[in-house]
Symmetry: none
Subunit: 303 residues, 2 copies
């Protein structure tokens, strides 16, 4: 029985004019390729290639078979392409960027959910700071970004997904006798621990705990919420924590979570994509999925 494998190997052989090199082209050992070529020749009852010291030549039949083979392989390729060209919602590859203060809490729920609802989805994720993600989005390296609004860049569409309230996290054995609920001017900025430069949460924390008139900030920045909260648990200070992180982080660190007084500060998480993208429907579906997951997570935190 003639197979596409044989044709692919034969095509490689015709291109390389050398069994060993052709084998490399198709990522297989030379005997494996040899065997398939021989099988093909036997099946067709024709010598396709002439093996001589000065190289490998196609016979006349080989030339004809090659041209037909190439046509067939090209059509198979087209078939695969066209079949994969996702026509339905969230079919095929989608590349999503998520900010680091959100990804560890959202992604573990979101991905399995998407996979089960959209079995044909192929998810590629990237975690980075907003500016990097937005740049990648603009360059077509990502299809969508999940980050804190507002986003100012031109040419992008956004859709609010959910509101993520801020809490203050401090060591459980804290000597600080802070009132709960907290008001923003009670925060000692010199005790505030921050993520490194570039994270939007850093800027948000500074905005919440207005720094007017205060002198020094803790100069080093952590690279993840988890690190930051370990520092908090060890009594090195306190930090702002988004509600979505609470369920996960409170369970693994001895920390106390203190709410702010109304109006509670919060960040708005939104979905961002290129306005020119033709995947409007995918974005709708993705937004619905993310909102749903976020609601689940926040509900778990409240409990």
């Amino acid at each position: 029985m003639l197979t596409l494998r044989q044709m692919r190997y034969f095509e490689a052989l015709a291109s390389a004019r050398h069994f060993g090199k052709a084998a490399e082209l198709v990522h297989v050992s030379q005997p494996a390729l040899s065997a398939q070529i021989m099988e093909m020749e036997n099946h067709l009852g024709v010598k396709l290639v002439e093996r001589s010291r000065s190289g490998v030549f196609l016979t006349r039949k080989g030339e004809e078979v090659l041209s037909r083979t190439r046509a067939i392989l090209a059509e198979v390729d087209q078939l695969e392409q066209s079949a994969r060209a996702s026509s339905g919602t969230l079919e095929g590859r989608i590349r999503i960027g998520v900010i680091p203060t959100l990804a560890p809490y959202l992604v573990p729920r979101l991905v399995p959910h998407l996979r089960s609802v959209y079995p044909a989805i192929e998810i590629e994720l990237k975690e980075s700071v907003t500016s990097r993600l937005v740049a990648d989005l603009g360059e077509g390296l990502l299809d969508a970004v999940v980050a804190a609004l507002p986003i100012e860049t031109e040419g992008l569409s956004t859709k609010p997904l959910f509101s993520d309230r801020f809490y203050m996290a401090m060591a459980d054995d804290e000597r600080n006798i802070l009132m709960s609920p907290l008001t923003e001017d009670q925060v000692d900025v010199e005790q505030l621990l921050l993520l490194e430069e570039g994270h939007c949460l850093r800027d948000q924390a500074l905005a919440v705990c207005s720094t007017a008139g205060k002198r020094r900030l803790v100069s080093f920045g952590a690279t993840s919420m988890t690190t930051l909260l370990q520092m908090v648990a060890n009594g090195m200070g306190m930090t702002l924590i988004p509600e979505i992180a609470i369920a996960t982080e409170a369970s693994r660190n001895a920390i106390r979570i203190v709410p702010f007084a109304a109006p509670e500060p919060a960040r708005e998480i939104g979905l961002i994509w290129r306005r020119s993208s033709p995947r409007e429907r995918d974005m709708e579906a993705l937004a619905t999925a993310i909102s749903g997951c976020a609601d689940d997570i926040l509900q778990a935190a409240a409990a």
Copy 2:
């Protein structure tokens, strides 16, 4: 990896609209067919068929994939057909190299003859010196070469075709009073006109008219026998002419042809091909055709 097997099963399924019956069509059990269809759907990331109570329906994507699949299967079928259609003797392209001192006399007879006996032949000709032809043969650019034996190169097979005696050609109004038949030491090498470097006939001429003790040779070489014989006719000297050229050349130049005394010097013309070539039968047929043509031409010369 997409396979023809999957496509064949899919085609059967689309025709039968029933897994069990499709399985019968391709002589396989129902689970085997099921598995291949599932594999194909997974690979393409698309549902091809809808399994419902009232039978099996193709999805929209399935319809498209089906039409492409059928086209591909048909082409594969054609490939097998055409490859199996054992090409008979001397069908299709054959690339033949012929040396310049032979081609102008042999080819005009050989080609029409081949065309009439083997109507499906496609002849490509190349005229060059032996070394060039043999190199092309080795690189698979030619299928056969007609040249003077012996040929030394490895990996080649040869078959003698005919013997081509040498004569001496001189101006008809020649003042030289040479005995006929001629003996080799009667030739004045300083009057001998030669082809340019690389032609085997040049070397043969020098071998025949042993140059031992002689001084100068005519330094410029002609590029063809015809040119050479025009020079002879114009009294610039004399030259060796192979018998096969006589009929053509004697009629268009005022020259006298003088035979050598026995044993008459001659060149052996042979057919040369790669030993690894699978076209043994073509070579036999070609050899027979060439020998036949050569006999005709030589007979014409004798008359």
